[in-house]
């Protein structure tokens, strides 16, 4: 089985936000929830850089560790998913997540959060693959159809890569060698405790 990862080649990201829009549309993500977003560092200054960020599907995921009801699980493809039936919306996963991935619909008073929502790596949830209930709770399941996450698939500059960690690292390495520069795999040290050596 593959070890699925995301890699954003920041030298290529042009902050078009198409990945954000594609994600929202593909999964019918409600208003106020962003499974993916593009962050611009040093905005408007020399040295500006944009990085597309979502759940990184960490190795030894912090969200899963701190969850008080153990609603997280890791799939055979190393994708970190969770059950909205078990989630109580406590917000702990957001405190632990290094990437700000967990999102909560606001459902009531006193900041009471609804069931957490986050990037599923386009692979649904614990419900039966490609079922209506899975789509309603977690969005579409492209992985079950043999497709990769839509954000990366439709990235116009191919800055965002998704797929098996070793394969996308290889693609990135070849790019860096060919063009002669690269700023590294953003977030990999924090998510997977490794970087891509070139």
């Amino acid at each position: 089985m593959a070890r699925m990862k995301f890699l954003c080649d920041a030298d290529r990201c042009i902050e078009c936000n198409a990945c954000v829009t594609a994600c929202k549309n593909e999964h019918e993500v409600p208003w106020g929830i962003n499974r993916r977003r593009v962050i611009t560092l040093n905005d408007g200054k020399p040295g500006e850089r944009s990085v597309s960020m979502a759940c990184m599907h960490c190795t030894d995921a912090p969200c899963a560790a701190v969850c008080p009801v153990n609603c997280f699980y890791t799939t055979a493809d190393a994708v970190v998913l969770h059950s909205k039936d078990l989630c109580i919306g406590c917000g702990y996963c957001f405190y632990a997540c290094p990437f700000g991935a967990p999102q909560y619909p606001r459902v009531g008073n006193f900041g009471s959060r609804g069931k957490m929502d986050k990037c599923t790596y386009c692979s649904g949830g614990p419900e039966a693959d490609l079922s209506t209930i899975e789509y309603e709770k977690y969005g579409s399941n492209r992985l079950a159809e043999g497709k990769l996450p839509l954000c990366a698939e439709m990235c116009s500059t191919k800055a965002l890569l998704a797929g098996d960690g070793e394969m996308i690292a290889q693609i990135y390495k070849e790019r860096v060698i060919k063009r002669g520069y690269g700023s590294g795999a953003w977030g990999w040290k924090t998510a997977y405790r490794e970087t891509i050596a070139i």
Partner: protein, 338 residues
């Protein structure tokens, strides 16, 4: 002449090479085709982490929290919550239970000393005081149990009842924790108002502490309405109560007052004070019920036995009796005809 000059050129070249190597980042080298690196001046992850502990920028969506790119502090918060907190909480609470059990089995229940005044009743806490106490106490018990569920539930309860039942229970526990926080906060404020007057520390307390509160010897030190031990409980409830309220309010309105790192610290403080608070209140529950005969009546019916009161709060009894020798302070029908 030629030799030194050649050496000098070499040394200069070495210096220039070294300084270039030091100042130019590794990614600034030109592409194999000689084209310059268009992003050579851009920031990178290592550089940003050297400047600040988190990496953040600008996002085009309204959610300001989303502007954080990487916050590795989540890992430290995780270590606190998963490695430290269960041990600190477990030791504090089990340690207190063990200490109370040890006290009970060695010292035993503190018995009511009977005298000729046994049976006469004296009003100790009026209706409002008792209402305040029990409202706060009921909330505290639910808040304490639902709070402990966040730490120990998945370790102790979930293996027993299964993930689905446990998640449903935890959902209701969360609602209880969020909503009962309000009457609890109100109760703490009420307590401050009705009891602060009788809880100002004074010289009698010093004497009470010096005599070990009557726990150690046979002699009962003087005490007014509240002895030094009760004053400690009062001020602890006020202090911890306000600290729990303040940190709790920050969490009830997440990210309204602080950012992600602030939320992590606030949650840690809330949890730490919470477990210590629970352990301390266990001692209060013990001495007010099982630990001392006659003590429960004060908060139960509100009326205490005069014999008990004279032993434990002699100065207060004197004051009360002087105020109303046969007035409403004395229990109905139990006043001896004089």
């Amino acid at each position: 002449m030629r030799q030194p000059s050649h050496l000098g050129t070499l040394a200069m070249a070495a210096l220039v090479w070294a300084s270039v190597g030091l100042t130019q980042p590794a990614h600034a080298v030109n592409a194999p085709d000689g084209a310059p690196n268009p992003t050579a001046s851009s920031v990178n992850e290592d550089l940003l982490f050297r400047q600040a502990p988190t990496i953040g920028g600008r996002v085009s969506i309204p959610d300001a929290k989303a502007a954080n790119l990487i916050q590795p502090q989540g890992r430290e918060w995780r270590d606190f919550r998963e490695s430290w907190l269960p041990w600190i909480g477990g030791l504090a609470i089990l340690g207190m239970i063990a200490a109370l059990a040890l006290f009970y089995f060695t010292r035993g229940r503190i018995r009511l000393e009977h005298s000729e005044e046994s049976g006469r009743k004296l009003l100790r806490f009026n209706g409002f005081e008792r209402f305040t106490h029990w409202m706060t106490a009921t909330c505290f018990i639910v808040l304490g149990l639902s709070g402990l569920n966040y730490i120990f539930g998945k370790r102790l309860l979930m293996p027993l009842i299964g993930p689905d039942a446990f998640a449903a229970l935890s959902q209701w526990a969360k609602y209880a924790h969020v909503y009962l926080a309000w009457p609890f906060m109100l109760g703490v404020v009420f307590m401050l108002v009705v009891w602060v007057r009788d809880n100002i520390p004074n010289r009698i307390d010093v004497q009470w502490i010096r005599q070990g509160g009557g726990f150690l010897g046979d002699q009962h030190p003087h005490a007014e309405r509240f002895n030094a031990g009760q004053k400690v409980v009062f001020w602890m409830v006020i202090g911890f109560g306000f600290a729990m309220s303040a940190t709790g309010l920050v969490m009830l309105f997440p990210f309204a007052a602080t950012d992600i790192n602030g939320m992590q610290i606030v949650q840690g403080v809330h949890a730490l004070i919470g477990v210590v608070f629970i352990a301390a209140i266990l001692a209060h529950i013990y001495i007010g019920s099982l630990g001392m005969e006659g003590a429960y009546d004060a908060m139960g019916s509100g009326e205490v036995d005069l014999a008990w009161a004279k032993v434990h709060h002699d100065l207060w009894v004197k004051e009360q009796l002087a105020k109303t020798a046969s007035g409403p302070q004395l229990g109905r029908g139990q006043v001896p005809a004089e």
